[in-house]
Amino acid sequence: MNFFIIFPYYLAWHYGRAFSNIGNIWKNYFIFIYNFFSIKTLLITLFSPWRRMGDEYREHSSLGDIAGTFVVNTLMRCVGAVMRLIIIIIGILVLLFSVVLGLAVLVIWLFLPAVLGYLVYFSFIGFLK
């Protein structure tokens, strides 16, 4: 009996507050993904040397040494930039995916009660056939 009393409450929730819940969860995940891939930090430090590796410029060193150090440091910065760019790109892709997925969830959610009712009914019939 309870089920029939709950049903209208459920539907009211499904087409009411559930949307704001989904919106909130969606927002949480969006922020989470953004933070998880450290997109902001990685962009700010995009050209920092990889794990602070590299040589120090020493006083009174030859031109060759300076050039060598410059090459090594530039290389380290490049390595850092490449690694960071990879993560940033993956992060952005995942973010885009989450937007698409969120929209899909919203659309599915709209029709879910009807779809489930249909599926339950026809699978039952299908089984009995």
Partner: protein
């Protein structure tokens, strides 16, 4: 506000899911969801298995089968989705955060419990709910006992007489349960029997709720808070590596995530202070000072955890806490130059890494071990201390902090002191509540009172160590013992009986044998002590008081001053008291105070800082914490020593030469003195009642300056021992001769103790100055002598009775 009003609010907030819970509860739904998830996946896999099977052996009706299986799969899948939707529905309601701001709010669990309760009998229906019965379990109260209480109540708390005082817009479990407790007087009396009063009620419900919330929170994995705590990628990529430091990196103890533990306020302020010191732009170094070793590291672990979870100030984000294992560092770098180079390397590396919080455990001992290598650690690390790219947390105990760090100007300039405050009992219990999470399972369950008992026993009976460490150690020791005993429910008594076994101090509920003993204490003592009624009565009373637990725990168990002439039973009384109170475990520690009468008596007892000599008393009490401390001829010692005992009697401890506390709270202290014997003797001679002359005698001792009044007042009792009279002497002689008889019969010699013999022996004790001591001498010198002679000349044979005649004796 009455009960029904709250129920209406509860219904308004949650009615739809009350219905859902009534139909199928959250716990059931979780199980159903799991089953449906597994079966729907399996049923989708079956058609493909059938497909391959059909290729090998041709199945008739293959198409029909697969069609039916698909139908079942879709059905199961749909049902699974429905259950998930119901769960979403449920979670959406129980996390009604937006509603907290509007009007009166009740937490879902509480609302549902109240919704299910009957307004006719609030107490019974609350304790019948799942929360209520769990509460009773934590109190160690069985359902039968509680039902019996319910049936005997005089008054029933119902909607009519239940009033709820709301102090804010949030109805909490604490408010609710406190209201029931305050208004149900029968319940108060009932719970009081289990040592539960309002404070305990609140503590227990807090404990249950915090645990429950933690589980609920863990289920809510999509919440912002849960997602926030997942560490991010690449945060450390802009920071350097610490190859050298990595070699000496020590492990920090596991810190429970702040959300999952029962929150104690222990270490919380310290952690905040630590964070604020470390967040400074320069000289962001802290020294954590406290004696609780594991507590100190726990604070560091919590800091590391908070940084990982990102819930710290922006200055501390992305930092890495690294514990330097100083012992391993010292052992691996034995030479001065090597030590200096390696440590500099570590510090330079840490600075260039840019995100390191370096933790140096036991800085004082690191300083002293580096000193033995000839390294001046302070000047070595000083240049690195003000770097904005490195933070250092040093750890120290209090004594060494004052002795070594505080005196060092360089260090105290660069390190900000963070002092760890001592923990109190409430917080110790919370620490234990977190600790027992590791042990509690289907085989073992702790009651709240058992945790209180652990905390209190650790504090009271174990003087070594620091709280809450001591309490945790006691818990760790007790768990395997209880498991081996097959104990499921751990109660206060289980803890106390294990403490009793460990210490020998009788604690806990009285056994019937013990009760009997305590009630007949006077008789038991009189079997060994002749006469001395006053002494026996006051000692018996003191023992009963102490055993019933009503005495001040911050003083010795009991203390007496025995006054009286020699040989009247003062020592025998002490021995008897030790046996009665401590049983086999007792230990009499005797100090002849006449040996501590000269200059330097105090340092002989407690040790001396100058000569670094340990004290006799402090060593004695460290070796034996439990027993009777007998101070013979107390009046002969110096005033300094008497002042020491003034403190011991008052506070139950003293400090030795190194300033370390020595515990005297588990002792019975007995001081004896024959000062005033002459007055006692005169009083007896003049025929006056000794108890009436007691005041005069004590006054005269004070006037003569033998004892200070404040010292006499500190004793639980000043007991006068009477000189022995004729009848007493005969009794004592009999007791002593019986002892001899027993000893001899062990060798097959049967000494007949008759009146002649008793009369003879008692005759030696007539000098009141020496009391019963000559009796003993008479037995040794005369009686034993004669028996020995008889055995040698053959006039007495083993096995046959030996009767000593008047002629032989006199």
């Amino acid at each position: 506000m009455n009960f029904n009003d709250i129920k209406i609010i509860a219904k308004k907030l949650y009615y739809p899911i009350f219905l859902l819970e009534d139909t199928i509860s959250h716990g059931r739904r979780k199980k159903v969801e799991l089953i449906l998830r597994i079966t729907s996946v399996l049923s989708f896999l079956t058609p493909s298995i059938l497909y391959f099977l059909n290729m090998v052996v041709h199945l008739s009706n293959f198409d029909l089968y697969t069609q039916k299986i698909y139908a079942v799969s879709i059905l199961l899948l749909s049902l699974w989705v429905i259950v998930i939707m119901l769960e979403a529905f449920y979670f959406s309601y129980i996390h009604l955060d937006e509603k907290k701001a509007q009007g009166i709010f009740i937490d879902f669990e509480l609302a549902y419990t109240m919704y299910k309760m009957s307004p006719e009998d609030i107490t019974a229906t609350f304790f019948g709910s799942s929360m209520g019965s769990y509460f009773l379990m934590r109190c160690g109260i069985s359902a039968e006992v509680f039902n019996e209480f319910l049936s005997k109540r005089k008054q029933i708390l119902s909607n009519v007489n239940f009033k709820f005082n709301l102090d804010d817009n949030n109805i909490t479990w604490e408010d609710f349960i406190a209201s029931i407790f305050e208004q149900d007087k029968d319940l108060q009396i009932f719970l009081f029997q289990f040592s539960i009063q309002k404070k305990e009620v609140i503590e227990i419900i807090d404990w249950i709720i915090e645990r429950n919330d933690a589980y609920l929170f863990a289920e809510w994995w999509w919440s912002k808070e849960n997602l926030d705590h997942i560490p991010s990628i690449g945060q450390s990529w802009s920071y350097g590596q610490i190859y050298t430091l990595q070699k000496y990196r020590g492990a920090l103890p596991m810190a429970m995530s702040a959300r999952y533990e029962v929150h104690s306020s222990y270490g919380v302020d310290e952690l905040k202070e630590l964070e604020s010191v470390l967040s400074r732009s320069r000289d962001a170094n802290a020294i954590l000072v406290g004696n609780d070793e594991s507590g100190r590291l726990q604070i560091i672990s919590h800091l590391a955890r908070k940084i990982d979870e990102g819930s710290v100030s922006p200055e501390l984000k992305h930092k890495t806490v690294v514990l330097l294992d100083t012992d391993s560092f010292v052992s691996q770098n034995g030479g001065k130059i090597q030590f200096e180079l390696e440590l500099s390397k570590i510090l330079i590396e840490a600075i260039s890494a840019g995100n390191i919080i370096l933790v140096i455990n036991n800085l004082p001992s690191f300083i002293s071990s580096s000193k033995t290598l000839g390294v001046d650690l302070t000047t070595l690390i000083e240049p690195y201390l003000s770097s904005p790219n490195l933070q250092i947390i040093a750890i120290s105990d209090t004594d060494n902090f004052h002795q070594i760090i505080e005196k060092n100007i360089l260090l105290s300039q660069h390190f900000e002191k963070v002092l760890i405050k001592d923990i109190d009992t409430t917080n110790t219990i919370k620490v234990l509540e977190n600790e027992i999470m590791r042990f509690e399972d289907s085989t073992i369950f702790f009651t709240y009172q058992s945790l209180v008992a652990i905390s209190e026993s650790a504090e009271r009976y174990f003087s070594e160590g620091i709280m809450p460490d001591k309490a945790i150690d006691l818990l760790l020791e007790i768990v395997p013992k209880l498991k081996s005993l097959g104990k499921h429910l751990v109660e206060k008594e289980d803890i106390l009986s294990l403490v009793k076994v460990k210490t020998g101090i009788p604690v806990g509920e009285l056994t019937s044998e013990e009760k009997n003993k305590l009630l007949n204490l006077e008789k038991i003592l009189h079997a060994r002590i002749v006469g001395q009624d006053e002494a026996v009565v006051s000692i018996s009373n003191a023992v009963r008081r102490s055993r019933s637990g009503i005495v001040n725990p911050n003083r010795p168990i009991s203390s007496f001053l025995f006054l009286g002439p020699t040989g009247v039973g003062k020592t025998e009384t002490t021995k008897a008291l030790n046996d009665v109170f401590f049983g086999d475990q007792g230990h009499i520690m005797r100090l002849d105070m006449s040996e501590y009468s000269g200059a330097g008596a105090l340092s002989k007892l407690i040790g001396s800082f100058e000569t670094n000599q340990t004290g006799i008393l402090s060593t004695m009490l460290r070796e034996h914490q439990y027993g009777v401390l007998l101070l013979d001829e107390f009046e002969k010692t110096t005033e300094e020593v008497m002042n020491l005992f003034l403190q011991v009697l008052d506070e139950g401890f003293f400090s030795d030469n190194l300033g370390k506390k020595v515990n005297a709270r588990n002792l019975i202290i007995i001081a004896t003195s024959n000062a005033g014997s002459d007055l006692i003797w005169e009083a007896i001679k003049s025929g006056s009642d000794l108890s009436k002359s007691k005041e005069i005698i004590i006054d005269s001792l004070i006037k003569q300056g033998i004892f200070k009044p404040e010292l006499l007042n500190r004793f639980d009792g000043v007991v006068l021992f009477q000189p022995l009279t004729g009848a007493n002497l005969r009794q004592i002689s009999k007791l002593m001769l019986d002892k001899l008889h027993n000893r001899l019969s062990g060798n097959g010699i049967n000494l007949v103790v008759n009146d002649t013999l008793i009369e003879f022996v008692a005759g030696h004790g007539t000098d009141p100055k020496f009391g019963a001591r000559p009796i003993n001498r008479a037995i040794q010198e005369k009686v034993e002598q004669i028996i020995a002679k008889k055995l040698i000349d053959g006039s007495a044979e083993k096995g046959k009775g030996i009767i000593l005649t008047k002629e032989e004796l006199y």
